[in-house]
Subunit: 403 residues, 2 copies
Amino acid sequence: MRSAKLSLVLRHLRDHGPRSRARLATDLDLTRSAASALVAELSDLGLVRAAGIERGGLGRPGTSVELDGATVCGIGAELNVHHVAALALDLSGRVVAEHRLGIDAQQESVEQVLDRLVGLIRRTDDDVRAAGGYTVAATVGVAGLIDRPREVLTVAPNLRWRDVPVGAELRARLGAPYAVSIENEGNLAAIAEALPGDPNRQDILVIFGEVGVGGGIVAGGRLLRGHQGYAGEFGHMIVDPRGRRCGCGRVGCWETVSGLRALLDAAADPEDAVRDPALSLDDRLAELNRRADLGDTRTIAALDSVGSWVGIGSAMLTNALNPSAIVLSGYFAEIGRHMRPAIEEQLQAGVLAPHAGGTRVEFSTLGFTAAVRGGATVALDAVFDDPTVVALQRADALLGGAR
Amino acid sequence: MRSAKLSLVLRHLRDHGPRSRARLATDLDLTRSAASALVAELSDLGLVRAAGIERGGLGRPGTSVELDGATVCGIGAELNVHHVAALALDLSGRVVAEHRLGIDAQQESVEQVLDRLVGLIRRTDDDVRAAGGYTVAATVGVAGLIDRPREVLTVAPNLRWRDVPVGAELRARLGAPYAVSIENEGNLAAIAEALPGDPNRQDILVIFGEVGVGGGIVAGGRLLRGHQGYAGEFGHMIVDPRGRRCGCGRVGCWETVSGLRALLDAAADPEDAVRDPALSLDDRLAELNRRADLGDTRTIAALDSVGSWVGIGSAMLTNALNPSAIVLSGYFAEIGRHMRPAIEEQLQAGVLAPHAGGTRVEFSTLGFTAAVRGGATVALDAVFDDPTVVALQRADALLGGAR
DNA sequence: ACTCATTTGTTGAGATGCCGGACAAACTAG
DNA sequence: CTAGTTTGTCCGGCATCTCAACAAATGAGT
């Protein structure tokens, strides 16, 4: 009841930016007295602070209140085939710490990979503490199917892992005083794209492309996880039954025609440098962008073909979900501008609603940090859900310095 | 504030059935005093009543409290190509009144059809009043795309309507003291299948098949409407680009291979009685069921083929949404038992998650009343959201007898 | 049959938090 | 410099929740 009001105020400050107590009162339909009292309590918890004077209007200027980012942080981490990463975000959305490490999950044991990830999370937490803050929770994104109720990684074709209780393993290794949860990587990337407070980012479809294609659905500002947490596996929708065999064993999965490999195969001969896995992905995509800019016929045809498939799949999902935007992330964000016409053409053609239901095609600007940012956002949700938890957490963090 | 707690209690009684005040207190983490006070207030509002003594346990037996269905009703209505219908549900889910009228929307003017529907809603409301109750709200399901923010029927291929402000038209004609809202028919059918309190019916995918194929998505117990309210248009996902032309003008829409027409075309020659539109749909489907039971090769092959397509589309949506159940409604419910093997085969083959992510294939038992039931449920949501509204509504209903 | 433990529902006292109004503070407009 | 406006705080009143106590209704044990 009390925490619900505190949560309301805190979220409002996050979603709509700093503002005076009086403004909070009118926005949230409270009295000025109530707003003042709530702000005072949030201030005692170390979650908000004064942010300067609001000059310009008529009458006495208000003292603006903003989220206090200094102390409370959430950690997002990522466990992927070619890298592990961790990132800490404070309440105000600032990056406090960031670490990244290249690995080859297929060549290392499960234990080794988990140890590396735990090391990264520890270092991130250390950075947070060094900066005078503390960690409230950590959420780890994994490139595979996460059975949420059981907190088990069920299947990860690209990692080649099966039935690993990642949540319990990480908790045991970390022994941390903060909560640790796991989530599908694409789902976290989707959360990162659902910008709080932006009305055009409350019902979105995020499609994340690398070798595989995944993603997530945000509906009404909330992540759609499905019954067991398996929602968002767009890459394995079968769109071309007479097509190519997929890594998952099926034929014609969407990622076989819209994934990175499909693009590279269509755009270049096997000996071409853009198909050399030893070179950095950024460089190879930059080269394709250059060729497309110069008007290279084969490159443009490849981008058109892949773009059409991206559009066909997007149209199906748009008929089902009617999102306000489709956010293309991963390699699509790097090279998608050349695919846009083909994607939009298929979207117009394949969606029943006029003007494709108003769905816009957008490209992510978060790059490779989408998943870890989403993870940190989820971790911070604990605070926004119930701001009073930090009272306990803070005591824990100060007392239990040894872990 | 207070209404939030009242709402909590009322919903709990709906979702988990009658129970004592003490049980409510422990379930909802309240004190017994608070629970008593809340029940007393709900009782004053005429929403709950005593339901008998709970014998059997140790100690003093509790007096069970249940939803009082006698007074408060919600109306659901439906506007479809071949019929209009209306149904009133009381708080406890009992059908208080039901009316149905065959029409041919393509032969009549928009005004005529709306007048017929209004007449049906009026008669239903009269029945409610005759039974000593009153109507709190009405929700009308329409077979077409509803732009929710604007409350306009954007496009309805089967009705052949475009840009009709159905909400405003109905309100003007009814001049009713209760709220009137509109919604897509498939979405209402989906709500009707999401049984409150059943944990296996909180994340479901409802597919409704007649000539067209539509449906709705319930995620976390809440209807997924999308940005503009166009979500759930599964029938026009393009699944077979080399296939047949659809009524919407595109090629290969899912409903061209899984709709009723596809089944009838495959199962019988043009002169066969099962393809005679003059005969009742129920009789024709019964005949197909009979033939399949007798082992007729062509019928079984047709059901297998259509079932496979139903399964292929379901698998795509299951990858994206991970529902706990796919509820097949409309003509699928009548004849689906012969399709089940083909559907489940494609689901297993097309879903990445092991065992198809635990998604079960179920058949609706609501028949043609699904949409109107869903509409009445939505109408009653106003009461469950804020039980105090009935205090005003009741005064209105008693005073403003003339409308 | 009687007593005791157990559970229910109600009641009253106290605490908490919100609302409304009053008030001083701080600023703009003229 | 004054009048008007808006902000933030303080205080009495009200509603609501909690806590503790108590009577009522039952089963279990002797």
